[in-house]
């Protein structure tokens, strides 16, 4: 049996080169123009997020008080920004909304990347180990996931914030190394540390569940048993045999989860728990615009549009990826 299977494989090779998963997926994705547009849009956002200073006409904190609430397209005539055109209008401190939107991209993209990496690294490892381990270990690990899942995230963030405020008021020598590290990270991220923690705490849970389910399914398959028979170690089986099989659904799940991270940040900044002023994020800009809705709708309009478009683009891309990666839809 084994011999004949091997012969079949070698015999088939010259006839048709096996298509790589990546090439196959790309080919399917690029067939749809709409998906290509989404991908290009997201790539552009990423570039903007990496170097907002290159694209933004002015800084995010440059104020020009007399030019407050100027409608889109107005040219400033007085103050620090005289001669500058507000392509998307100005807010209540006369700041350029376009520039703030561009700097705000950085926050959204950082949150997306942060959430994705945490969820990939922790979620996949955790799920693989749980799914591959004995029943008791699996049970124990998944109950931990259930407990964290049940914890109200908002309360966690508020508690953490209270903790950090108390910590930050202490003199450096009383903080301890951990305290200093936390305060440093929070300052460096402009108050975004809690948003990261919040997203970090919850983002990997779904991924862990998904990976565990997939692992449970694949560990029974012949190729895993075969690998074990030839003496492969557990790590090798998980890394080389199981992971490549389950990575497809993971990518899809991740793409569909990213909008929720972006939304979480926007929501937290909206209620004032996120980024500290004057640093902009789309959520804090929407919070600013909400009060001015009837006076200067553009303050609300542009960040809301940017947020919606980005969430939509991620969702469409995720959908398309799922179709492209699903073996059942292959011709």
């Amino acid at each position: 049996m084994l011999n004949s299977a091997a012969q079949n494989a070698t015999a088939a090779a010259p006839l048709r080169r096996p298509r790589s998963l990546l090439r196959d997926t790309l080919q399917r994705l690029t067939k749809d123009v709409f998906v290509v547009i989404c991908a290009v849009y997201l790539a552009a956002l990423l570039v903007i997020a990496i170097a907002p200073g290159v694209f933004a006409p002015v800084g995010y904190a440059v104020t020009d008080f007399p030019e407050k609430f100027q409608p889109p397209g107005t040219v400033a005539t007085q103050g620090t920004l005289a001669g500058h055109t507000y392509w998307m209008g100005s807010d209540k401190l006369g700041r350029d909304i376009l520039s703030r939107l561009i700097y705000g991209t950085r926050v959204s993209m950082a949150v997306a990347l942060m959430g994705a990496s945490i969820s990939f690294v922790i979620g996949i490892t955790y799920g693989l180990v749980a799914g591959y381990s004995s029943k008791h270990v699996d049970n124990f690990m998944m109950r931990i996931v259930d407990i964290i899942y049940a914890y109200p995230t908002l309360i966690l963030i508020i508690l953490l914030q209270v903790y950090l405020t108390t910590l930050a008021q202490k003199p450096p020598d009383e903080m301890g190394a951990f305290g200093q590290l936390v305060v440093t990270i929070d300052n460096a991220s402009g108050g975004l540390f809690f948003v990261f923690v919040a997203i970090g705490v919850v983002s990997w849970l779904n991924m862990a569940r998904l990976v565990r389910g997939q692992t449970l399914h694949y560990r029974q398959q012949e190729f895993v048993q075969a690998a074990r028979v030839v003496g492969a170690k557990d790590q090798r089986i998980m890394g080389r045999h199981l992971l490549p099989n389950i990575i497809g659904p993971c990518i899809v799940a991740e793409t569909l989860a990213i909008p929720t991270y972006i939304y979480t940040e926007a929501f937290l900044s909206f209620i004032g728990l996120g980024i500290q002023p004057p640093l902009p994020s789309w959520g804090s800009m929407i919070a600013d615009g909400y009060g001015a809705m009837r006076t200067a709708p553009w303050v609300l309009f542009f960040p809301a549009i940017a947020l919606s478009l980005t969430m939509l683009a991620f969702n469409f891309l995720g959908d398309a990826l799922r179709d492209a990666l699903d073996p059942k839809t292959r011709k």
Partner: protein, 557 residues
Amino acid sequence: MRKFLWLVPILGLLLVLAAGCTAAPAPAASTGDAAPQAASGEPITVRVSTIAEPSTLDPNLAEDTYSITPIEQLFLGLTNLNNETGVPEPELAESWTVSDDGLTWTFNLRKDAVWSDGNPVTAKDVEYSVKRAVKPETASPYAYVLYLIKNAQAINQTVLPTDTYDIDTLGVKAVDDYTVQFELEAPAAYFESISSMWTLRPVPSWVIEEFGDAWTDPANIVVNGPYLLKEWKPAEQLVFEKNPTYFKKDDVQIDRVELDVISDQNTELALYESGDIDVAGDNAGSFPIEALTRIRSDATLSAELHEGPRASTTYVGFTMTKPPFDNVLVRKAFSAAIDRATMVKDVVGTGVPATQFAPKGIFGAPDPEVGIASDVEQAKAWLAEAGYPDGEGFPTVTYRYFSSTLEEALAQALQAMWKENLNVDVQLESMEFPAFLASTAATVPVEEMPEMWRLGWGADYPDENNWVYEVFHCTDSQNRPCAECTEADELAKAAGRETDSAKRIEMYRQVEEMMFGDEVRVAPYYHRGFTILAKPYIERAYPAFAPPNWDTWRVNQ
């Protein structure tokens, strides 16, 4: 039968939906700009709003404007601050005299004042209220304004339960049923203003003794003012009705006032525009700049907008014991670098630029203003003189404020101005209000203090004593900037005891100049203003100090 069991939940759901549809409110009659009493004979009702619910209706315990406004309608003071002029006028007291040494004040009460349960309002009630406010057990937050009464400070600061006090040593006495006499610690020309305050308004002792803390519930409360409290729906509405036992009831036109609790100013404005409330902005800060911009560009709304000073000042506090703000030149530079005119015009949208603490209209407030004027070149020169030319080598400092939309905008504006004019980096830090207050108290260790912080002050009574002395005196006040005692403190205390008004005015001018021009304990930058929208049929005064008197309002037929 069993076959159709699945229909039960579905039918139930349909029933709920149907009920939801029929229970929808009937369309309310549109009021628009018509006065609310169309048919004659109907009670005249006025609907006003408050941004926060009163925390108490007990005059001895009230401290916030949301409580003081309803208390003003329910309880009478010995005197009343005239809504137009701010000058004390007779209310419960028909007349009052002061002895030649300025220490004994005698108030003669009117004899026709009665409580809403029929009892006469007597001097005993005044005595009871003052004693209750001063007793340490009452823990009145405003007891300190009574410290000028003989022995009040000693009694109020008694440490319980280790120490004891004798309340009968307090300098207040009912001479007969309609005469009450106060003995003061030192002469105080401003006592007639203090006698208008809610803290010492007579309260019904028999009701308090019967019901305890629950005496202010609508079912129990007994009042003596122009209005009665009819109803109090928590976090929703307070209903007031004309008091038929009030001695000037014939001068009160409005029969019923509904005070709606509306915590969002945008909602308040929308309700005003839809005609659901008649007056907006009375018990709130000024409208946000977003709303003001729209109101001013709208023909109808701008005609109904009333603006004026609020007798209240916002300032930047400096921690004077913490470098680099231990250097007076740095403080001067930071004060001069604030573009006050822009702050008022473009960031707040209302108010008056300030360089001194007390606003015009407060007795003793210098006019024209003294202090440090906004001047970028001068600010740069001072910072250079302090050793930081063009901001070089200046450490990053923190400005702490409390979370509110206006304060966030002000903080960002200050940060931008200091950056642009002085080239220094200021970090912003926001906190919830109670935590913020606690974190900037003078008792906080200096290393935990931010270098700068936001604070403000609003008048309790219109006299400088309530400002420079009660807020900034180095030992007798909270002294949040942690200033050391100087000549200014002595002068502020002496000015309170001076009886010659011309001399007092000159002394306060010097104190203001020393505290905010020479020492720069804080940097006042604007006097707040009120923005009130009132329908055209409402005729009323817009007081700068005291809460409005609803009994003087008129609804034009």
